[in-house]
């Protein structure tokens, strides 16, 4: 992994490798990822993202496609291609810096300490290798077991993820399995060595709606069983509501709102979060109430250096949103990147009201306040000058 932020790296690698109970399991600090071969314009996909995951905690990373959430997860795993990718910042797992770590050390951690479930089960399994081999190879890599023991363990795992007749399935090829079964296999692979952190990148998006809930349930049970921490990457706030303790909302490469689940769902403050919530059908909503879509598409953004990236699509946007980039600052129990946030109680109503009525909520003091009072461990403010270009 090429890293242009070597100064930050050094700071990170000075940290003791011994796990510290106060230390979060995963600490992401000012992570930036830019794409662009030499000679071409660089495109920043992830821009100074910081968040923590504590042992056993379930954290959601939410955003539309293109918001940088998947790239963030690949950067954490060190799975981004090397050519034309520039990664800066720091990702520490139990105090060990992952960015710039040697391939061998990283490989020793992947699959054993951190594992990942990918989005598309149809393409994420090797079509010409038997399911059994693909499952046992990760066990045999990280555990000192014989071939027979690995196979027994693999059978038990398949059983656990709800695949009937696991003995037969092990000797089959992926194309003989349905999409839902393949995703179950991928979950089994990821959790085979009982990692302490599981990253799930839209694990149900590619599945049939009827299967999604089942697979999610399997994932939830297994994560609970192994007591792994979970980083759930999704665009679906419904998934987050049922699964995550804390939520980070990303837009155009930056975190725009971060808080505990209940706080966020109780009253979103960022108009984007409000829009995401407003676009979910709710059982308790009055009959005939229309669903509200966020206008425009994620491609209609402003560069963060010029203002708020969400401004072109935002109901609350005012002149300063297009000239003055907002910082991620404390806002009560949450962190927020917005000049004109939604009012807590009326947030939902506002998001559903006609666009012209939504002028502006009473502006909260957005200056830096005492970070110690926050629910989440101190995340440094993200300076806006560096990064995106």
């Amino acid at each position: 992994m090429t890293s242009s932020g070597s100064d930050i790296l050094q700071k990170g690698s000075r940290q003791p490798a011994r796990p510290d109970p106060n230390e979060p399991l995963l600490a992401v600090r000012d992570l930036s990822v830019a794409f662009g071969l030499r000679g071409r314009r660089r495109v920043t996909a992830v821009d100074s993202v910081s968040f923590d995951i504590r042992p056993g905690e379930h954290v959601g990373l939410v955003g539309e496609s293109g918001s940088g959430k998947s790239v963030t997860s690949l950067a954490v795993m060190g799975l981004l291609p090397k050519r034309g990718v520039h990664v800066a910042g720091s990702v520490r797992f139990e105090g060990r810096e992952l960015l710039g770590m040697g391939r061998k050390d990283l490989a020793a951690m992947r699959g054993r300490d951190i594992a990942m479930v990918f989005q598309d089960p149809m393409t994420s399994l090797n079509p010409v290798v038997r399911v059994g081999v693909q499952l046992t190879e990760v066990i045999r890599q990280h555990r000192d077991v014989t071939r027979g023991e690995a196979r027994g363990r693999a059978e038990a795992l398949l059983e656990k993820v709800g695949i009937p007749d696991p003995g037969r399935r092990l000797s089959e090829y992926p194309h003989q399995l349905s999409g839902g079964m393949r995703q179950r296999v991928l979950i089994a692979i990821a959790l085979a060595c009982e990692p302490r952190l599981l990253i799930a990148d839209e694990p149900t998006t590619a599945l049939d709606v009827t299967i999604q809930a089942q697979v999610l349930e399997v994932l939830k049970d297994l994560v609970a069983d192994t007591q792994a921490a979970l980083l759930m990457i999704t665009h679906d706030l419904g998934v987050v509501a049922g699964l995550c303790d804390r939520v980070n909302v990303m837009y155009s490469g930056r975190i725009v709102e971060a808080s505990g689940r209940d706080v966020l769902f109780g009253g979103p403050r960022h108009p984007y979060t409000g829009g995401l919530l407003g676009s979910i059908p709710r059982l308790d909503a009055p009959r005939g109430e229309p669903l509200v879509a966020i206008p425009g598409s994620p491609t209609s953004t402003l560069p963060w250096t010029q203002g708020c990236a969400f401004a072109p699509r935002c109901h609350n946007a005012q002149d300063d949103c297009r000239t003055d980039p907002p910082d991620l600052v404390a806002d009560g129990p949450r962190q927020l990147r917005c000049h004109h946030p939604l009012d807590d109680r009326t947030a939902q109503a506002r998001a559903t009201a006609e666009p012209t009525a939504a002028t502006s909520g009473p502006r909260e003091p957005a200056g830096p306040t005492d970070t110690a009072s926050f629910e989440r461990p101190a995340a440094p403010e993200t300076p806006d000058e560096e990064g995106s270009r």
């Binding site: 206008p295 491609t299 209609s300 072109p312 699509r313 297009r322």
Partner: protein, 316 residues
């Protein structure tokens, strides 16, 4: 993900320009821009241009005539005169000016190469379009026509291409037309398969299904949608085949099946004639050989670069 220009004043609901505008750039203009950035495309284009210019303006580049053997007196059994003031690449083993022979050889290669590729392209495209068109229209007749044509192509494909060319050239009496037809015929199956498969692939494409759903006539869909989309791969293949054709023309001459007329300068025959003096004077064989390699390389480089530039997947 791409930041879309400074559009600060635009109301949020308006579709914002950016990727859409990028998509508007036509396939060919995009391909051209990509090729301009690709060094091997530039080298290929330069070689091709040089080759064509030399071939066209051959008479202006030398004061001698090809294949006259007018300096044959200077050639002795043991020695062919090398570079001199008068002949800056020396003479060839037949007593003609080497430079003149090479320059006119380019002309010959270009004529044979282009003509045979055109023959192969026309015949192959006709078969391929018929098979692919009928195949994608479907129905019993459609499938039948498709099958029969493709069986014929299979027969041609079951003979290695140079052998096919050799056998055809052997039957037809030795003249230029025979060579052109022989090498062209060897290309027929390539073009036929290419056009058929790209037409069939696009026959199932969403936009064709959409055209079907809108009630367009099948022939109109084939003509206005499927064919234009097959043009790119066909041009790429034609460029690559030109390189093969240049080599095969030389190969036929090498096997003694080339043009019989000694007045026609031809690189392959120059190589054969040089063979007996090869170890004593490698220049005689290396010069025409290098000419074949460079011109074939030019077309290959260009064709490959064009293929890459036209491939939507390489645009990432």
């Amino acid at each position: 993900m791409t930041p879309a220009g400074p559009s600060s004043g635009t109301p949020a609901l308006e579709p914002v320009a950016g990727p859409d505008a990028e998509r508007g750039v036509s396939l060919w203009r995009g391909a051209f821009q990509r090729m301009r950035r690709n060094p091997s495309a530039i080298i290929g284009t330069l070689i091709m241009l040089l080759f064509v210019l030399v071939a066209v303006f051959a008479p202006l580049l030398t004061s001698f005539e090809p294949g006259t053997g007018e300096f044959f007196r200077e050639v002795t059994p043991s020695k062919v005169p090398g570079p001199s003031e008068q002949h800056w690449l020396g003479l060839d083993s037949g007593g003609s000016d080497m430079w003149t022979q090479l320059v006119y050889g380019a002309r010959q290669s270009l004529i044979y190469g282009v003509a045979s590729t055109v023959v192969g392209l026309l015949a192959g495209s006709l078969l391929g379009v018929l098979a692919g068109g009928f195949g994608s229209v479907g129905g019993r007749v459609g499938r039948w026509v498709d099958t029969v044509i493709m069986r014929i192509v299979d027969i041609l494909l079951s003979i290695p291409s140079l052998l096919l060319a050799v056998s055809i050239a052997a039957v037809i009496t030795q003249d230029s037309l025979a060579i052109i037809i022989a090498i062209g015929a060897a290309q027929v199956p390539i073009f036929a398969r290419l056009l058929r498969s790209s037409m069939l692939a696009q026959g199932g494409a969403d936009y064709v299904l959409a055209g079907n759903a809108l009630g367009f006539r099948k022939r109109r869909i084939v003509m206005s949608h499927i064919l234009p989309n097959s043009v790119g791969p066909t041009i790429v293949q034609a460029t690559l085949n030109l390189a093969t054709a240049i080599i095969e023309v030389a190969a036929l001459s090498y096997l003694g099946l080339g043009a019989d007329n000694p007045r026609v300068a031809e690189w392959g025959r120059m190589l054969v004639n040089a063979q007996e003096r090869f170890s004593a004077d490698p220049r005689l064989a290396i010069l025409p050989g290098v000419c074949i390699v460079i011109s074939a390389l030019g077309f290959t480089l260009f064709g490959e670069a064009l293929r890459e530039a036209l491939d939507p997947r390489s645009r990432r």
